[in-house]
Symmetry: D2
Subunit: 338 residues, 4 copies
Amino acid sequence: MPDLRIAVVGAGLMGADHIIRISSRIVGAVVSAVVEPDENRAKAALANLPSAKWFSNIEEALQASAMDAVLIATPGQFHESVLIPALAANLPILCEKPLTPDSSSALRVVAAEMATGRNLVQVGFMRRFDSGYMQLRELIVSKNQGELLGLHCAHRNPTVPESYHNDMLIFDSVVHEIDVVRFLTDSPIASVEVRHFKRNSKSPVHLNEPILVMLETESGVLAVVEMNVSAQFGYQVRTEAIFEEGLAEIGRTSGMLTNFSAKISMDENMSFKPRFAAAYDSQIQRWVNAAKAGKIDGPSAWDGYLAAAAVEAGLEALRSGKKVPAAYQPMPAFYQVS
Amino acid sequence: MPDLRIAVVGAGLMGADHIIRISSRIVGAVVSAVVEPDENRAKAALANLPSAKWFSNIEEALQASAMDAVLIATPGQFHESVLIPALAANLPILCEKPLTPDSSSALRVVAAEMATGRNLVQVGFMRRFDSGYMQLRELIVSKNQGELLGLHCAHRNPTVPESYHNDMLIFDSVVHEIDVVRFLTDSPIASVEVRHFKRNSKSPVHLNEPILVMLETESGVLAVVEMNVSAQFGYQVRTEAIFEEGLAEIGRTSGMLTNFSAKISMDENMSFKPRFAAAYDSQIQRWVNAAKAGKIDGPSAWDGYLAAAAVEAGLEALRSGKKVPAAYQPMPAFYQVS
Amino acid sequence: MPDLRIAVVGAGLMGADHIIRISSRIVGAVVSAVVEPDENRAKAALANLPSAKWFSNIEEALQASAMDAVLIATPGQFHESVLIPALAANLPILCEKPLTPDSSSALRVVAAEMATGRNLVQVGFMRRFDSGYMQLRELIVSKNQGELLGLHCAHRNPTVPESYHNDMLIFDSVVHEIDVVRFLTDSPIASVEVRHFKRNSKSPVHLNEPILVMLETESGVLAVVEMNVSAQFGYQVRTEAIFEEGLAEIGRTSGMLTNFSAKISMDENMSFKPRFAAAYDSQIQRWVNAAKAGKIDGPSAWDGYLAAAAVEAGLEALRSGKKVPAAYQPMPAFYQVS
Amino acid sequence: MPDLRIAVVGAGLMGADHIIRISSRIVGAVVSAVVEPDENRAKAALANLPSAKWFSNIEEALQASAMDAVLIATPGQFHESVLIPALAANLPILCEKPLTPDSSSALRVVAAEMATGRNLVQVGFMRRFDSGYMQLRELIVSKNQGELLGLHCAHRNPTVPESYHNDMLIFDSVVHEIDVVRFLTDSPIASVEVRHFKRNSKSPVHLNEPILVMLETESGVLAVVEMNVSAQFGYQVRTEAIFEEGLAEIGRTSGMLTNFSAKISMDENMSFKPRFAAAYDSQIQRWVNAAKAGKIDGPSAWDGYLAAAAVEAGLEALRSGKKVPAAYQPMPAFYQVS
């Protein structure tokens, strides 16, 4: 079978990373096009891709039949305008999270996908491809330690850029937990509540964090999330699951242990890249394999919509200090997993 | 200096344990009297104490001048009736937590102690003597990792007896975190809030737990406590502290590591006794040393009152689901640490 | 650049594994031929490779120009008869360890390679591609903890098949440490000595193990190897390095931590496959990339010869109980790394 | 029962430490005499012991009936001259290791003790009182993981004083492993062999270390000891036991885990004092309890003799590079444990 020709839309940090990934680590796929309005960025990304072409917008790329599939790596507010024409062209799409910035635009994407009659959109919640989360999900499903009762989640970034603003705590960061809590529990987020830890004086002046976010699922599981974007010491994503008969914990660093200067130490990650490198690779490889077979193999556009709706509850919870219920449209039969 | 003659009041589980501790591991002290209305219990406790005497109530023991100091190990509702006469006799007292079951009785004890003109009462919040908590406090005070922002506390019992009822989640169990959070932060608990994890079907039928308790200090630190008394797998008390520049974690089990049957394992404790054995020994040894010098060396009656007042807020929070502020009397100069 | 067409020689356990690896995880390569005398095995391996051809011997495959490169995965005693004609055809070769079973045959391969004028042979000592060994080597080279003084190596298999005989402790198992100790120290093995632990009654009757193997490098580093092929509980390859100022340790299992039934546990591997999966992938990807550029990127035929010569000393040490020096030919300029 | 009056002989580092231990942490004992020729040292040690008396030699102390029991903490070459008169006086003795510097003097002590008709001498191999070694011994005896096959021991000091000379590697340091290997295996050391790691340039100039010591027991267990007295980074005593079906490991540091500056770290000990503090306390408390009952509760003079004889083999092994068998007198019935 010929290689899947992928157009990568957006050649910023994330897009450039995906271009290198596809070229050097993904089997059966090739970057055939880079869609990017900024010419310098585009040229930098194309440097080692002699056979790939540059397009400044998605319409031109579609016009040129430059790809078999689309990987969207632009900021979230620009996703809809790429998704709609790519869906109209019946192309398989891997769209970085969030699907779109709010639930009403997410529902428009859902409608456009349903109009094609096929599952074409996969959303890039890559934690579902992390071996830790996969093991934990297996343990939950097995009920070997009884029912899952709760989750302690910690999501820590050493720092964030100046452009990171307060609402992003929810829609850019906690959105990962919003998706993964549902993935682990197979139950939608029913409500969101936010509390504040003492403010970190090292946080950018416009942020009030770290925060504590409580996500309650419809099944009654309470997930308690520490969201901390000025943790300084390292990048950590950890989860401890409380079962009726025991605990399980994922996300601890491993690696070389050194004994030096009266300390026994291990290195901690300083960015999401080493922490989730294998998950990103696995996500894209499985999407490529699935796309060739006309399928998706990961979270759907409906998952993207559910996350967007829970994020809206989360933003209101952040502002109000109240427990805010999440409201969802009924799931179309189209998205029912057989 | 002659041995400190201690009257142990209450020869139940806890009292019997303290009698063995004093006899076999504490230097400079001797159990001279056991005050216990139940004759069988008293006799069992006195079996290896040929020189100790039995009294069925505190008044008789005081009348007989049978001791230099009093260790109270009865249930909390009986503490006041021992504390008042022992204070009237000007004896040093180590009183198991809680000082008394509510803040108004605690204030009566405070008044009785102030009337003696001396600090005679120490309350048995033994976690303050655990090396882990002591190390963590040193790190907080040092500000080596910046300000403390928050605490994740887990307090897990494998099971509890049938007699354990729902309010005991707060006044018998979380009371330890209520005291130790203040010990760590040097700031009183300002408010308490309670949420529920999914109920453990293995919990006794009259309990609704595990619960999540949020303790906010006046200094703005948020402590998030998982209180779980049906954890089945083991006894665990762990704390993870979030600082501006890093984390610190205490309470992990250590011990022999075995590699057997495709698992690398360590034993977990199954009760508070091995977990806090060294803390109990240290607490009593330091109290004995201090009592001989006419001092206390640990939490005071005022600390007992503050805990009782915060527990009252916690009980209301448990029932109401609301954030409940704690209210305290102003601290008398008598209890100011110079 | 077109995909590298690889002929896999030998479709046993190891060969079949490499065929799956190349097909599903290696970028820029394809299995174009399977060389295997056993027709059933060959057909099983070819099942998912519609475009690959079957050859019963290397000569026919070469005759048909069926490949750009050769991956040899037959037992060691059959390597030479594949290596010689493949070298005569000037093809890049990845040869599973050992290069050949003894030093004289290894020298014949070396001579045949030198006759081509190019470095065509890479030997499959895949531990050099394991991230743990690579990190440890970096630390050694950096001298951040001073000079390396010694190594404690443990190499444990749960069990071995009946066909595994006593000499294989050295030439099949310890050969990995023989190569990796040189890789870590950049110094040849100067001598080998063997001692016996108490015999494991669970070992196959014809084995006398576990054994302790001492490898001394010319630079004076002493590597102490526990070689244990009936360890039952799991598969473990660990190394602890002693430096002048500290220690470093690699090879500990990580993964999900469970707290269950009074134990805190992690799963241990039960075979080399999960332990070294990433190293095998990396080895083959880097070899494919190098082969396309006319190079090797890993241990050379000369490394294979050095290991064979040290294995000969090891076998004599196993039999004699004595310290046996290893003897090496001088290294041809051809193999000098510039 | 009255307190056991102990004469501490030797008020150097070790003696001073024992004096503090007995005064502040041991129940039922008191330091009644300090035997020390150096007046300044003696006075320093007596500073906080108002009721203890100073004697410049053991004979005067015995003459004055100044004690019920003797704790010997002088250097090993001075032990015999204290042991003999103290035995003649029928006093219980705890003698720091080694019992005496060689096997013939040890046999003289054995004879003197047998002449009293009672077990009066206990030797201070305090590792037998360490909870890790005790747990490991229980596991060995239980045969839960099958027979014990071997031991990997690491004994690391950060540095040693200038006065530490090369033979002390064996008689002062490895002697601990010599005793504890026998304690764990219940089998005498049959032979000793020594190898050298690369020399640490940070070692004092007259030392050639770290060394590798192989102790083979009569039962066939091989113990492999890394003896390292210039490890710089910390003080470590670790043992890993190889069983037929699994492994067990003791001696890893535990304690507060910090996450700071891209490292996850724990403090390592820098001296034997924190590592073995609990073992020393337990040893002395159990000896005091036993002495009051006319018994010993730990290694006997015969254990001291066996260690001395194995040390002699070790010293010859260190000098010769050969495997040296240890030779022992037959054990007198007097020392048979019923």
